[in-house]
């Protein structure tokens, strides 16, 4: 059964609203990914950059995000965090807090395979998956990355940063086949998926889809009253 993973940025437009949106997302998602806001998110397009700025402007911090996550009972919460906020918080302390809050996995987009060891020891110690990303340019790296992956594999759909796209030109099916040769870990495709057609297409290729910018865009437009709009969007895309 194909999975659906939704993404929103913590603290956009406020942490109270994020908590409220999580309950809506939980009704329709298998995994909920929460972005820890960062001042300079280099893998994000304009939509999620702006969400990060809104979240930071209203005083969202790592401690407040953890405190909010402690109140969530949904079992598959994943954090997306850039390397610096995690490193500065302290790997040990960060993954300990993740463990305490029941966080299932952490995605660090600027911590590639070669550098992941410094964080992975702490993720492992506290039973948190450090999620592996595979990109269209991974080429001969695909199986090396996939072999070590736990939790799930985040397959980046296309070149560039996050954000809504018209079309995809990567041969994702062949990357998924290479991955499946070496691991049972499920593969979810993300980056740029915003329409029911795109979602259906990706679900035929992989084990699930990740939708982020399209939901964050709704929040950018409707702010605190986004709830019903998110619900409507999820019904259409799933």
């Amino acid at each position: 059964m194909s999975k659906f993973i939704s993404f929103i940025t913590a603290g956009d437009p406020s942490l109270e609203k994020t908590r409220e949106f999580i309950d809506i997302l939980a009704q329709h998602s298998d995994i909920i990914e929460i972005g820890l806001p960062f001042s300079d998110p280099i893998a994000e397009g304009e939509v999620i950059q702006a969400a990060n700025n809104r979240a930071l402007a209203n005083g969202t911090t790592t401690d407040k995000v953890f405190a909010m996550l402690e109140t969530v009972s949904f079992d598959k919460m994943v954090l997306l965090a850039y390397a610096n906020p995690v490193f500065v918080y302290g790997y040990d302390r960060f993954f300990q807090r993740c463990g305490q809050c029941g966080v299932y996995g952490v995605i660090i987009p600027d911590l590639p395979f070669e550098e992941r060891g410094e964080a992975a020891v702490f993720a492992d110690a506290y039973g948190v998956h450090l999620i592996t990303l595979i990109a269209p340019t991974s080429a001969e790296r695909v199986q090396m990355l996939a072999k070590e992956a736990t939790g799930f594999i985040y397959l980046v759909s296309s070149m560039g940063v996050t954000g809504v796209r018209g079309e995809f030109d990567t041969d994702l099916a062949s990357i998924v086949n290479q991955i499946r040769d070496v691991t049972q870990t499920p593969v979810y495709i993300g980056f740029g998926i915003s329409t029911p057609e795109q979602a259906r297409h990706m679900r035929n290729i992989a084990d699930g889809v990740i939708v982020g910018s399209a939901i964050v865009k709704i929040i950018a437009e409707h702010g605190g009253t986004s709830g019903p709009h998110i619900k409507q969007f999820l019904k259409e895309i799933i």
Binding site: E115, A135, M159
Partner: protein, 391 residues
């Protein structure tokens, strides 16, 4: 190749870029030992960029200040007006060997962007430069120069709209299109192999300066002084003096309005370890690791981080880093113009300011790296002094 300088350095980039940085690392490891490559680069540095740059004895300044015999390493006399051309010619030549046809670059003051656009014109490559909107206003003349050279200049409106954001945007662009594109990073920063490669290309400065001072003085200088933003001109002028323990290496950071205000860009003085822009190094940031909005009058030093090799030299105590305010730098800018008839870049004026401050404490020679010329800054300094002058 070792990707680190002590604990600093590394390759903290998204997976999308890993193959590109690995490919670059391999290509550089190969070509740095390739005779034909090195001969072609030396030839370009000499015939096109105008090297070697002069080591000029600043007699008036020496007499006026007392103490040190002051020598100026004249990187401002290079083609395009700064040390940036040394690195850009090396990287563009390497990019060509790798089959890349398009260069992208970030720029702060515009000196690196101009150098990249120049190399692209010379090698018939496409060039796109990313520059913060605020910097485009501060350095309007350089923006026009880049366009004249055939480059496309993109205004970066995210974040603080300065150098940091220009790097973010150039990295994003590299993830969009990597197959035919080389990112010509302008400083000794970013993921490995950039800090090492840019340092190697810039080390021509100290290779010359060490020989020149030995010819002129018959002994090593007491100190080598350079301004530091990301730190490429400083690494270049320090590098061949690092084994000479008796030579003090002094980096001058931008203290902006002062270290006791939040308006500075003094990373060594104020920064903490972090991971950003592909490297582990020191960064100006808050307690949660959010990168701080830094400030300096100088667009080239207005950066919240520092190259990893500097962070390591600082940690080991081999180099010392001092802070120079806007006010002192502007005074030095005017002083060098009047005293020696040399208008330095406002970035380089930070190093000149330290020499003015400390000259009388030395009894031998000191070398101050004049990393660039100040034509680009004249209008901005006039406005700083209250004149209504626009380019």
């Amino acid at each position: 190749m070792n990707a680190r300088f002590g604990e600093f350095g590394g390759q903290y980039v998204p997976e999308t870029l890993m193959n590109a940085v690995t490919e670059l690392e391999q290509a550089y490891a190969y070509y740095k030992k390739d005779d034909a490559f090195n001969t072609e680069l030396s030839e370009l540095l000499n015939t096109y960029a105008g090297r070697p740059s002069r080591l000029y004895f600043a007699g008036n300044m020496t007499k006026d200040l007392g103490g040190a015999k002051i020598y100026l390493k004249r990187e401002d006399l290079n083609h395009t007006g700064s040390h940036k051309i040394n690195n850009v010619l090396g990287q563009a030549l390497l990019a060509g060997r790798m089959g890349k046809t398009r260069l992208i670059a970030e720029t702060g003051a515009g000196q690196h962007g101009v150098a990249a656009a120049t190399a692209a014109a010379l090698f018939n490559m496409e060039c796109e430069v990313f520059m913060g909107r605020e910097d485009m206003e501060r350095q309007a003349l350089n923006v026009y120069r880049m366009k004249l050279l055939g480059a496309q200049v993109h205004s970066v409106t995210s974040g603080t709209q300065t150098l940091k954001d220009a790097v973010n945007e150039t990295m994003r662009e590299w993830t969009r299109r990597v197959h035919d594109t080389h990112y010509v990073l302008g400083s000794v920063m970013g993921p490995h192999p950039f800090p090492m490669m840019v340092r190697d290309f810039q080390s021509v400065i100290s290779r010359e300066a060490r020989r020149q001072i030995m010819d002129l003085e018959g002994e090593l200088p007491r100190a080598v002084i350079a301004c530091v933003g990301g730190g490429s001109n400083a690494m270049g002028v320090f590098y061949h003096f690092i084994p000479d323990d008796q030579v003090a290496l002094i980096g001058c950071e931008a203290a902006g309005l002062g270290l006791d205000t939040p308006h500075n860009a003094a990373t060594i003085a104020k920064g903490k370890p972090g991971i950003f822009h592909g490297m582990k190094s020191l960064f100006c940031q808050d307690d949660y690791g959010q990168i701080a909005p830094v400030y300096s009058l100088s667009a080239g030093l207005d950066y919240p981080g520092i190259g990893p090799e500097h962070a390591d030299l600082h940690r080991k105590g081999r180099a010392h880093y001092v802070a120079v305010t806007d006010e002192e730098a502007v005074a030095a800018f005017e002083y060098l113009s009047r005293t020696e008839g040399i208008i330095p870049a406002i970035e380089s004026a930070h190093a000149v300011a330290y020499a003015i401050r400390k000259a009388k404490d030395y009894d031998g020679s000191i070398i101050v790296n004049i990393s660039g010329r100040g034509d680009k800054d004249v209008a901005a300094i006039a406005r700083y002094k209250g004149e209504d002058l626009y380019e």
